[in-house]
């Protein structure tokens, strides 16, 4: 658990972070979102003491971080950044091994851990372990960056716009990957982004920041339903709010289920695990008001009616 109480950061006389209080519970994926210069990155970097806070206190599992040696603290916190910061003179395996080696793990355990992480991030160990960062694509490098952050098996993971520089397709696949990994490893993650769609997709809680202050913190659904002010509403995309909300809900939450699955269907159809936003888009495209819903094997398991979307309670 991470607790920030009345934390401020002054650069010269400017207040980059202004008296914020925030508690991130264990296992939570908390996303700090806001425009650039709102203090979200500064907040993140104060947690691992890359930046010293000017006022207030930060505690991790009840311990004030100023009582912990900064190097010890950082070895216990995973850290991934937008430009990856991979060490260009080291192989992928050596990059991932940084923290385990700093922690003094025996060589064999380090080797096993590196292999385990390469597999977790879906990078074939035989192919990637010996490569150098310059031989990787942007997406692969970011996977290695995430693997490196996870290597010491930290309880906490800090991620500073890790997918910000990637193309939309790669970004989405890495977002899915992060959600999958979080299902498996259940870390306490603080994730910084300026992309509200990314925040809505990943977060269990979104913290909206503006001018160094926290404007609103809520679950994605609650944030969409009740934005605190015009700034949050604007960040949520104004007129596209309806679509964003639909993007958070799964098709099977509104479909009429069939008594038992029928054989495979052809033509326009939607998967039960897809979002209502995707369903809506399909309906618009095919100009239809209902869609067969299929499972992973392609068997029909239900029907989604446009009416059901429209009559859904707010």
């Amino acid at each position: 658990m991470i607790e920030l109480s009345n934390v401020s950061k002054l650069f010269d006389q400017a207040r980059a972070v202004d008296d914020i209080s925030l508690t991130v519970a264990t296992g939570e994926l908390c996303v700090l979102v806001g425009t650039s210069g709102c203090g979200k990155s500064t907040t993140l970097r104060m947690i691992n003491r890359l930046i010293a806070h000017s006022a207030g206190s930060i505690r991790i599992d009840g311990r004030d971080i100023e009582q912990i040696d900064p190097q010890q603290l950082r070895r216990g916190i995973g850290y991934a950044i937008q430009s990856t910061g991979l060490f260009p003179h080291w192989t992928v395996a050596r990059n991932i091994a940084v923290v385990p080696r700093l922690l003094g793990w025996p060589a064999e355990r380090v080797r096993q851990r590196v292999e385990e992480l390469l597999q977790l991030l879906e990078l074939a160990p035989a192919e990637f372990a010996g490569k150098y960062p310059r031989q990787l694509s942007g997406g692969q490098a970011q996977r290695v960056g995430v693997a490196r952050a996870l290597a010491g098996d930290p309880d906490i993971l800090l991620m500073d716009e890790p997918f910000g520089a990637l193309d939309p397709i790669t970004r989405e696949s890495l977002q899915n990957e992060l959600l999958r990994i979080q299902q498996q490893v259940r870390k306490t993650i603080v994730f910084v982004t300026h992309d509200m769609d990314e925040a809505l997709k990943l977060a269990s809680r979104i913290v909206v920041m503006d001018k160094g202050r926290i404007v609103q913190q809520d679950s994605p659904q609650a944030l969409l339903a009740k934005p605190a002010n015009a700034f949050v509403e604007n960040l949520l995309g104004g007129q596209e709010r309806g679509l964003k909300q639909a993007g958070l809900l799964r098709v099977d939450s509104l479909m009429q289920a069939l008594a038992r699955p029928t054989s495979a269907v052809t033509g326009p159809r939607i998967k039960a695990t897809d979002s209502l936003r995707q369903a809506l888009s399909l309906m618009l495209w095919h100009r239809c008001s209902s869609l067969p819903v299929v499972d992973d094997q392609g068997r029909q398991v239900g029907v989604l009616q446009l009416d059901a979307l429209m009559s859904r309670p707010q």
Partner: protein
């Protein structure tokens, strides 16, 4: 595939030049007939006041000593001013490094004499001073040219400042630092020869002596050896740079 690692990728080149250099230092004296063609009228055509191999030895010693000291001082100073606590000195040091570079080596040598007298001492001093500048300049460029994200990551992973320096900064700056040492040494091989004019014992001796008494053969013997030494050392550095981790 069965080639030893040292010889792969042109690793044999410095060895070839070194062999040529040694052969010349030991064998030039045997080529009297050849040099007689150039200087048919002179009494002697082979420089005889000292053996070439001894001159080569003292030349190399002088340059190596200077390179060692100026590398230590230059890299050390660059490391110092790129730390947070030394950052105040950065503008001063980087300005010194670029201004110093504009003074020709001969001037440094000439200025060293009134201060230190004649002999190897002032030559060594001038070599160290002049050789320091390219090393300092390149070390600064190398250390400051590292992607800030890499340093941020290193700190964020929990590396101690010395670990960041040894494991990340120096390896990544190494090719650029080596290039600086290479420039320094190459310049100093030539400058050391001029040291003969102020009484240092170097491969410049036959050249100076040849100039004074008008013996082209002497000049040629010194020039051949200095040239071979410069080429051999340069190709050695080229190999070193190619093998640096950041390359």
């Amino acid at each position: 595939m069965s080639q030893p690692a040292l010889l792969r990728g042109g690793g044999w080149q410095p060895l070839l030049w070194l062999a040529l250099l040694l052969a010349a230092a030991l064998g030039l004296a045997e080529l009297e007939g050849l040099f007689r063609l150039i200087e048919p009228d002179s009494r002697t055509v082979i420089y005889g006041r000292a053996a070439f191999i001894d001159l080569l030895g003292s030349h190399v010693l002088l340059v190596a000593l200077a390179a060692g000291v100026s590398s230590l001082v230059g890299v050390g100073a660059a490391i110092m001013v790129t730390r947070r606590w030394g950052a105040d000195f950065l503008p001063l040091v980087s300005q010194l490094a670029s201004i110093g570079q504009t003074i020709p080596p001969v001037a440094v040598l000439a200025l060293a004499v009134p201060a230190l007298g004649f002999g190897s001492g002032p030559t060594l001093f001038a070599l160290m001073l002049y050789g320091l500048l390219p090393i300092l300049r390149n070390s600064l460029a190398g250390l400051r040219g590292i992607d800030p994200a890499v340093l941020e990551a290193a700190r964020g992973m929990g590396m101690a400042p010395l670990q960041v320096l040894w494991q990340v900064e120096l390896p990544l700056a190494l090719t650029v630092i080596l290039a600086g040492i290479r420039t320094s040494v190459t310049i100093n091989i030539a400058t050391a020869a001029i040291g003969s004019t102020i009484g240092a014992r170097t491969l410049g001796d036959p050249v100076i002596s040849g100039l004074v008494i008008g013996n082209t053969a002497f000049i040629l013997q010194g020039a051949i050896l200095i040239g071979l030494l410069a080429v051999a050392v340069d190709s050695l550095f080229e190999q070193l740079q190619r093998r640096a981790p950041g390359a």
